[in-house]
Amino acid sequence: MIETGAVPVRRLEWQRAEVREIVVETSRVKSLLLGVTSWKGHLPGQHVDIRLTAEDGFQAQRSYSIASPPEDELLTLTVERVDNGEVSPYLVGDLRAGDQFELRGPIGGYFVWTAAVRGPLWLIAGGSGIAPLMAMLRHRARWKVRAPALLLYSSRSLEDVIYRKELDAMARRDPDLRIVNTLTRKQPVGWMGHRRRIDKALLAEACFPPEQNPKIFVCGSTSLVEDTSRLLVELGHDPLTIKTERFGPSGG
Protein backbone atom coordinates (compact mmCIF):
# COMPACT_ATOMS: atom_id res chain seq x y z
CA MET A 1 0.00 0.00 0.00
CA ILE A 2 1.26 3.44 -0.83
CA GLU A 3 1.71 5.79 2.10
CA THR A 4 1.76 9.56 1.96
CA GLY A 5 3.70 11.92 4.18
CA ALA A 6 6.86 13.97 4.17
CA VAL A 7 8.95 11.67 2.05
CA PRO A 8 12.25 12.75 0.57
CA VAL A 9 11.71 13.56 -3.08
CA ARG A 10 14.23 12.61 -5.69
CA ARG A 11 16.04 15.49 -7.21
CA LEU A 12 13.82 16.75 -10.00
CA GLU A 13 15.49 15.97 -13.29
CA TRP A 14 14.20 16.64 -16.77
CA GLN A 15 13.53 13.37 -18.55
CA ARG A 16 12.39 12.50 -22.05
CA ALA A 17 8.83 11.31 -22.50
CA GLU A 18 7.70 9.54 -25.65
CA VAL A 19 4.11 9.69 -26.86
CA ARG A 20 2.88 6.09 -27.22
CA GLU A 21 -0.79 6.73 -27.84
CA ILE A 22 -3.20 9.65 -28.14
CA VAL A 23 -6.82 9.36 -27.04
CA VAL A 24 -9.39 11.90 -28.21
CA GLU A 25 -11.50 12.67 -25.14
CA THR A 26 -13.67 15.55 -26.40
CA SER A 27 -13.49 18.09 -29.23
CA ARG A 28 -11.05 20.17 -27.15
CA VAL A 29 -9.34 17.56 -25.01
CA LYS A 30 -6.89 14.75 -25.68
CA SER A 31 -5.08 12.31 -23.42
CA LEU A 32 -1.40 11.67 -24.11
CA LEU A 33 -0.20 8.25 -23.02
CA LEU A 34 3.52 8.58 -22.40
CA GLY A 35 6.39 6.22 -21.94
CA VAL A 36 8.98 7.64 -19.54
CA THR A 37 11.97 5.30 -19.33
CA SER A 38 13.13 5.92 -15.79
CA TRP A 39 9.76 6.81 -14.24
CA LYS A 40 9.84 5.83 -10.56
CA GLY A 41 6.10 6.05 -9.89
CA HIS A 42 3.76 8.70 -8.54
CA LEU A 43 0.79 9.20 -6.22
CA PRO A 44 -2.73 9.93 -7.46
CA GLY A 45 -3.18 13.73 -7.66
CA GLN A 46 0.46 14.64 -8.39
CA HIS A 47 1.51 16.61 -11.44
CA VAL A 48 4.45 16.99 -13.80
CA ASP A 49 6.12 19.97 -15.43
CA ILE A 50 6.62 19.71 -19.15
CA ARG A 51 9.06 21.78 -21.18
CA LEU A 52 9.00 22.39 -24.91
CA THR A 53 12.00 23.85 -26.71
CA ALA A 54 11.56 25.60 -30.05
CA GLU A 55 14.20 25.46 -32.77
CA ASP A 56 15.37 28.96 -31.83
CA GLY A 57 15.91 27.81 -28.24
CA PHE A 58 12.81 29.47 -26.78
CA GLN A 59 11.42 27.34 -23.98
CA ALA A 60 7.89 27.13 -22.62
CA GLN A 61 7.02 25.28 -19.45
CA ARG A 62 3.63 24.16 -18.11
CA SER A 63 2.31 21.92 -15.36
CA TYR A 64 -0.15 19.13 -16.04
CA SER A 65 -1.84 16.78 -13.63
CA ILE A 66 -1.28 13.06 -14.05
CA ALA A 67 -4.55 11.30 -14.91
CA SER A 68 -3.29 7.73 -14.77
CA PRO A 69 -3.07 5.72 -11.54
CA PRO A 70 0.33 4.61 -10.23
CA GLU A 71 -0.55 1.07 -11.31
CA ASP A 72 -0.48 1.90 -15.03
CA GLU A 73 2.64 1.39 -17.07
CA LEU A 74 2.14 4.51 -19.18
CA LEU A 75 1.79 8.00 -17.76
CA THR A 76 -1.37 9.79 -18.92
CA LEU A 77 -1.68 13.58 -19.20
CA THR A 78 -5.06 14.97 -20.23
CA VAL A 79 -4.68 18.28 -22.01
CA GLU A 80 -7.33 20.82 -22.95
CA ARG A 81 -6.60 23.05 -25.92
CA VAL A 82 -6.38 26.68 -24.85
CA ASP A 83 -6.91 28.91 -27.87
CA ASN A 84 -3.95 31.28 -28.22
CA GLY A 85 -1.99 29.18 -25.71
CA GLU A 86 1.71 28.57 -26.30
CA VAL A 87 1.82 24.93 -25.34
CA SER A 88 -1.57 23.23 -25.38
CA PRO A 89 -2.37 23.81 -29.10
CA TYR A 90 0.87 21.96 -29.89
CA LEU A 91 0.15 19.14 -27.44
CA VAL A 92 -3.44 18.69 -28.60
CA GLY A 93 -3.01 19.50 -32.29
CA ASP A 94 0.47 18.61 -33.51
CA LEU A 95 1.86 15.82 -31.33
CA ARG A 96 1.88 12.35 -32.86
CA ALA A 97 2.74 8.92 -31.48
CA GLY A 98 6.51 8.59 -31.40
CA ASP A 99 7.13 12.29 -30.69
CA GLN A 100 9.13 13.21 -27.61
CA PHE A 101 9.28 16.10 -25.17
CA GLU A 102 10.83 16.88 -21.78
CA LEU A 103 9.08 16.25 -18.50
CA ARG A 104 9.96 16.29 -14.79
CA GLY A 105 8.11 14.91 -11.80
CA PRO A 106 6.18 13.64 -10.04
CA ILE A 107 5.67 16.90 -8.14
CA GLY A 108 3.65 17.73 -5.02
CA GLY A 109 2.55 15.49 -2.17
CA TYR A 110 -0.19 17.84 -0.98
CA PHE A 111 -3.07 17.33 -3.43
CA VAL A 112 -2.80 13.55 -3.09
CA TRP A 113 -5.11 10.71 -2.15
CA THR A 114 -4.28 7.00 -1.93
CA ALA A 115 -6.19 3.86 -1.02
CA ALA A 116 -4.49 4.00 2.40
CA VAL A 117 -6.49 7.10 3.35
CA ARG A 118 -9.57 6.29 5.47
CA GLY A 119 -13.02 7.81 5.18
CA PRO A 120 -15.29 8.96 2.35
CA LEU A 121 -13.73 10.54 -0.69
CA TRP A 122 -15.50 13.56 -2.13
CA LEU A 123 -14.25 14.84 -5.47
CA ILE A 124 -15.49 18.04 -7.07
CA ALA A 125 -14.36 18.88 -10.60
CA GLY A 126 -14.98 21.48 -13.25
CA GLY A 127 -14.03 20.69 -16.87
CA SER A 128 -10.50 19.40 -17.30
CA GLY A 129 -10.08 19.70 -13.51
CA ILE A 130 -11.22 16.10 -13.55
CA ALA A 131 -7.71 14.91 -14.54
CA PRO A 132 -6.00 14.53 -11.13
CA LEU A 133 -9.28 13.31 -9.61
CA MET A 134 -9.46 10.64 -12.32
CA ALA A 135 -6.06 9.32 -11.18
CA MET A 136 -7.61 8.95 -7.70
CA LEU A 137 -10.75 7.21 -9.03
CA ARG A 138 -8.72 4.84 -11.22
CA HIS A 139 -6.43 4.04 -8.30
CA ARG A 140 -9.46 3.49 -6.06
CA ALA A 141 -10.96 1.07 -8.62
CA ARG A 142 -7.72 -0.94 -8.85
CA TRP A 143 -7.62 -1.37 -5.09
CA LYS A 144 -11.36 -2.10 -4.90
CA VAL A 145 -11.71 0.42 -2.07
CA ARG A 146 -15.11 0.06 -0.39
CA ALA A 147 -15.24 3.38 1.42
CA PRO A 148 -17.87 5.56 -0.29
CA ALA A 149 -16.83 8.01 -2.95
CA LEU A 150 -18.70 10.79 -4.68
CA LEU A 151 -17.77 12.75 -7.77
CA LEU A 152 -19.57 16.01 -8.48
CA TYR A 153 -18.59 17.00 -11.99
CA SER A 154 -19.50 20.23 -13.76
CA SER A 155 -19.19 20.37 -17.57
CA ARG A 156 -20.51 22.73 -20.22
CA SER A 157 -22.37 20.01 -22.14
CA LEU A 158 -22.61 16.23 -22.32
CA GLU A 159 -20.08 16.24 -25.18
CA ASP A 160 -17.62 18.07 -22.92
CA VAL A 161 -17.71 15.42 -20.18
CA ILE A 162 -14.18 14.01 -20.20
CA TYR A 163 -13.83 10.23 -19.55
CA ARG A 164 -17.64 9.92 -19.78
CA LYS A 165 -17.80 6.24 -20.78
CA GLU A 166 -15.13 5.19 -18.30
CA LEU A 167 -16.84 7.10 -15.48
CA ASP A 168 -20.22 5.56 -16.36
CA ALA A 169 -18.70 2.06 -16.40
CA MET A 170 -16.92 2.73 -13.09
CA ALA A 171 -20.17 3.83 -11.43
CA ARG A 172 -22.04 0.77 -12.78
CA ARG A 173 -19.43 -1.63 -11.41
CA ASP A 174 -19.02 0.06 -8.04
CA PRO A 175 -22.05 0.46 -5.75
CA ASP A 176 -19.95 2.62 -3.39
CA LEU A 177 -19.24 5.23 -6.06
CA ARG A 178 -21.77 7.90 -6.93
CA ILE A 179 -21.30 10.29 -9.83
CA VAL A 180 -23.35 13.46 -10.13
CA ASN A 181 -23.02 15.45 -13.36
CA THR A 182 -24.16 18.98 -13.91
CA LEU A 183 -24.27 20.45 -17.43
CA THR A 184 -24.07 24.22 -17.25
CA ARG A 185 -24.54 25.45 -20.84
CA LYS A 186 -26.27 22.86 -22.96
CA GLN A 187 -28.27 19.79 -22.01
CA PRO A 188 -29.41 16.94 -24.25
CA VAL A 189 -33.13 16.42 -24.79
CA GLY A 190 -34.59 14.58 -21.82
CA TRP A 191 -31.63 15.39 -19.52
CA MET A 192 -32.85 14.68 -15.99
CA GLY A 193 -29.70 15.78 -14.21
CA HIS A 194 -28.54 19.15 -12.90
CA ARG A 195 -28.21 22.08 -15.29
CA ARG A 196 -26.52 24.84 -13.31
CA ARG A 197 -23.14 25.80 -11.94
CA ILE A 198 -22.15 24.20 -8.64
CA ASP A 199 -23.94 26.15 -5.92
CA LYS A 200 -24.75 25.73 -2.24
CA ALA A 201 -27.94 23.71 -2.87
CA LEU A 202 -26.12 21.32 -5.19
CA LEU A 203 -23.29 20.90 -2.69
CA ALA A 204 -25.78 20.26 0.10
CA GLU A 205 -27.56 17.66 -2.02
CA ALA A 206 -24.62 15.76 -3.52
CA CYS A 207 -22.42 15.59 -0.46
CA PHE A 208 -21.00 13.82 2.52
CA PRO A 209 -22.01 15.64 5.70
CA PRO A 210 -19.15 17.16 7.73
CA GLU A 211 -19.72 14.55 10.52
CA GLN A 212 -18.46 11.83 8.18
CA ASN A 213 -15.18 13.70 7.82
CA PRO A 214 -14.85 13.29 4.06
CA LYS A 215 -11.55 13.98 2.31
CA ILE A 216 -12.44 16.71 -0.16
CA PHE A 217 -10.55 17.49 -3.36
CA VAL A 218 -11.66 20.37 -5.59
CA CYS A 219 -10.09 21.00 -8.98
CA GLY A 220 -11.16 23.36 -11.73
CA SER A 221 -11.10 27.01 -12.70
CA THR A 222 -10.17 29.61 -10.11
CA SER A 223 -13.78 30.75 -9.78
CA LEU A 224 -15.15 27.22 -9.37
CA VAL A 225 -12.51 26.38 -6.76
CA GLU A 226 -12.95 29.60 -4.78
CA ASP A 227 -16.75 29.54 -4.84
CA THR A 228 -16.89 25.85 -3.97
CA SER A 229 -14.41 25.99 -1.11
CA ARG A 230 -16.17 29.04 0.39
CA LEU A 231 -19.54 27.26 0.18
CA LEU A 232 -18.12 24.08 1.70
CA VAL A 233 -16.88 26.06 4.70
CA GLU A 234 -20.33 27.68 5.00
CA LEU A 235 -21.83 24.18 4.99
CA GLY A 236 -19.70 23.32 8.02
CA HIS A 237 -16.68 21.60 6.51
CA ASP A 238 -13.30 22.14 8.16
CA PRO A 239 -11.13 24.19 5.75
CA LEU A 240 -8.23 21.84 6.51
CA THR A 241 -10.12 18.88 5.00
CA ILE A 242 -10.59 20.71 1.68
CA LYS A 243 -7.70 20.46 -0.76
CA THR A 244 -7.86 22.60 -3.86
CA GLU A 245 -6.08 22.91 -7.15
CA ARG A 246 -6.85 25.88 -9.37
CA PHE A 247 -6.37 25.96 -13.09
CA GLY A 248 -5.58 29.22 -14.78
CA PRO A 249 -8.58 31.11 -16.16
CA SER A 250 -7.74 29.68 -19.56
CA GLY A 251 -7.54 26.13 -18.27
CA GLY A 252 -4.89 23.52 -19.04
Binding site: A6, D49, Y110
Partner: protein, 91 residues
Protein backbone atom coordinates in the same frame (compact mmCIF):
# COMPACT_ATOMS: atom_id res chain seq x y z
CA UNK B 1 -2.84 23.96 -15.04
CA UNK B 2 -0.14 26.58 -14.74
CA UNK B 3 0.13 29.08 -17.57
CA UNK B 4 3.49 30.51 -16.57
CA UNK B 5 3.40 33.40 -18.99
CA UNK B 6 0.85 35.51 -17.19
CA UNK B 7 -0.15 36.55 -13.71
CA UNK B 8 -2.46 33.85 -12.43
CA UNK B 9 -3.80 32.91 -9.05
CA UNK B 10 -3.15 29.23 -8.37
CA UNK B 11 -2.43 27.00 -5.40
CA UNK B 12 0.93 26.73 -3.69
CA UNK B 13 0.95 23.19 -4.97
CA UNK B 14 1.52 24.55 -8.44
CA UNK B 15 4.78 26.22 -7.37
CA UNK B 16 6.14 22.86 -6.29
CA UNK B 17 8.32 22.40 -9.36
CA UNK B 18 10.14 25.67 -8.76
CA UNK B 19 10.44 25.20 -4.98
CA UNK B 20 11.41 21.55 -5.26
CA UNK B 21 14.53 22.64 -7.15
CA UNK B 22 15.66 24.01 -3.77
CA UNK B 23 14.24 21.66 -1.11
CA UNK B 24 15.15 18.02 -0.48
CA UNK B 25 11.87 17.12 1.26
CA UNK B 26 8.41 17.48 -0.26
CA UNK B 27 7.70 21.20 0.01
CA UNK B 28 3.95 21.02 -0.67
CA UNK B 29 3.19 19.11 2.54
CA UNK B 30 5.53 21.24 4.71
CA UNK B 31 3.69 23.43 7.22
CA UNK B 32 4.40 27.15 7.05
CA UNK B 33 3.44 29.75 9.63
CA UNK B 34 2.45 33.20 8.43
CA UNK B 35 4.33 36.03 10.14
CA UNK B 36 1.43 38.45 9.75
CA UNK B 37 -1.50 36.45 11.13
CA UNK B 38 0.15 33.46 12.77
CA UNK B 39 -1.88 30.77 11.05
CA UNK B 40 -0.20 27.59 9.85
CA UNK B 41 -1.03 25.79 6.61
CA UNK B 42 0.60 23.41 4.16
CA UNK B 43 2.64 25.20 1.49
CA UNK B 44 0.44 23.47 -1.09
CA UNK B 45 -2.56 25.29 0.35
CA UNK B 46 -1.08 28.79 0.02
CA UNK B 47 -2.29 31.06 -2.74
CA UNK B 48 0.15 31.25 -5.57
CA UNK B 49 0.46 34.31 -7.75
CA UNK B 50 2.41 33.01 -10.70
CA UNK B 51 4.58 35.51 -12.53
CA UNK B 52 6.93 35.06 -15.46
CA UNK B 53 10.05 35.05 -13.28
CA UNK B 54 8.72 32.97 -10.42
CA UNK B 55 6.12 32.74 -7.74
CA UNK B 56 4.63 34.80 -4.93
CA UNK B 57 2.95 32.69 -2.25
CA UNK B 58 0.38 34.34 -0.05
CA UNK B 59 -1.31 33.26 3.17
CA UNK B 60 -4.63 31.50 2.64
CA UNK B 61 -6.24 33.52 5.44
CA UNK B 62 -4.75 37.03 5.55
CA UNK B 63 -3.24 37.25 2.04
CA UNK B 64 0.14 38.29 3.47
CA UNK B 65 3.16 37.32 1.38
CA UNK B 66 4.92 34.35 3.03
CA UNK B 67 7.29 33.22 0.29
CA UNK B 68 8.76 34.64 -2.88
CA UNK B 69 10.68 32.39 -5.24
CA UNK B 70 12.41 33.71 -8.32
CA UNK B 71 14.45 31.92 -10.92
CA UNK B 72 17.00 34.19 -12.59
CA UNK B 73 19.90 33.50 -14.93
CA UNK B 74 22.18 34.18 -11.94
CA UNK B 75 20.49 31.78 -9.56
CA UNK B 76 17.43 30.92 -7.53
CA UNK B 77 16.16 33.37 -4.91
CA UNK B 78 13.92 32.40 -2.05
CA UNK B 79 12.70 35.17 0.24
CA UNK B 80 10.72 34.20 3.36
CA UNK B 81 10.55 37.26 5.61
CA UNK B 82 6.76 36.80 5.77
CA UNK B 83 7.04 33.38 7.39
CA UNK B 84 7.89 32.49 11.00
CA UNK B 85 8.89 28.94 10.27
CA UNK B 86 8.65 26.06 7.88
CA UNK B 87 8.09 22.62 9.41
CA UNK B 88 8.67 19.32 7.65
CA UNK B 89 6.90 16.55 9.54
CA UNK B 90 8.73 13.49 10.85
CA UNK B 91 9.65 10.98 8.16
Amino acid sequence: MTENGSNLVLDGNAAAGLLQEIFVLDITTAQIQCEACGCTVAVGALRLYAAPMGAVLRCTYCDGIVMRAVHTPHGRWLEMTGARHLRFSRL
